[in-house]
């Protein structure tokens, strides 16, 4: 199983909703993914290859040079967007 971290600024709101939607996408597509969830502060302790977050946070993480596959989501309720971007991320870490 591939570990994915869903993170947002505070770790209480947006990332939780994103986690719910991501889990729906994973279930519908049988992706071999387990999802963890936290605030950005806990990013350093995460040992999986993929981080999913909101697009503005993703841009900042990329600027910071975080060595993970960073996925930025614009509309966290859009399952098509999540699916397309997760597919790309899974390819990129192969």
């Amino acid at each position: 199983m591939i570990k994915v971290l869903v993170a947002c600024r505070a770790g209480v709101g947006s990332s939780l909703m994103l986690k719910i939607k991501l889990n729906e996408v994973i279930a519908e597509n049988d992706y071999p993914i387990t999802v963890e969830h936290s605030s950005l502060d806990e990013l350093e302790g995460f040992d999986g290859p993929i981080v999913v977050t909101l697009s503005d946070v993703a841009a900042e993480l990329k600027d910071r040079g975080i060595r993970k596959e960073i996925v930025g989501i614009n509309n966290i309720l859009d399952k098509n967007e999540i699916k397309n971007k997760i597919q790309i991320a899974l390819k990129n870490i192969e």
Binding site: C8, R9, A10, G11, V12, G13, S14, L16, M17, L18, K19, I20, K21, N23, E24, A27, V35, S39, L54, S55, D56, V57, E60, N74, N75, I76, L77, D78
Partner: protein, 156 residues
């Protein structure tokens, strides 16, 4: 679950605001007045947006206004503020914002069920149409309370 924390006194319709910061303040005010959050919590939200941008504009026209629990979230609650005129939050993809949900969660788990319900609501295009047609807080309460929430979401 969401109908238990989205209380009558925390719902506002037809709210006028000049800009995003006034929108956030007006949306959060009933939560402060009723003791769910401190004034500092509102300042923390404004500071975060100034520092990081509109990170809680999560889907078109919807802001989930919140800050870390430690900044002044006293009791679990959610407010809903429907703006008369949608506001620019400088969100590239999801502007303009018409619906501001203000979340107060004193810890990282007590709001899980309410957030699941919120996902159900916000994923339903009919929900927005119904809100736009609502003229009173009672109607909004009926729209939110009268819904079937999918208890089968076992994603947490």
């Amino acid at each position: 679950m969401i109908e238990k924390i989205l209380k009558r006194e925390l719902i506002q319709l037809n709210v006028e605001a000049m800009d995003w910061s006034e929108g956030i303040k007006k949306a959060a005010y009933p939560l402060e007045k009723n003791g769910y959050i401190t004034k500092n919590y509102i300042n923390a939200i404004l500071d975060s947006v100034n520092k990081y941008g509109p990170y809680f504009v999560i889907t078109p026209h919807v802001a989930l206004s919140h800050a870390p629990s430690s900044t002044g979230a006293i009791k679990l609650a959610m407010g809903l503020c429907i703006l008369k005129n949608p506001l620019k939050f400088n969100s590239k993809d999801n502007d303009p914002v018409k619906y501001i949900f203000t979340l107060s969660s004193p810890d990282s788990s007590s709001h899980l069920d309410a957030m699941k319900d919120l996902v159900v609501l916000l994923s339903d295009s009919k929900f927005y149409k119904e809100l736009d047609n609502a003229k009173t807080v009672d109607e909004v309460l009926r729209i939110i309370g009268g819904r079937k929430y999918d208890k089968s979401i076992s994603s947490m």
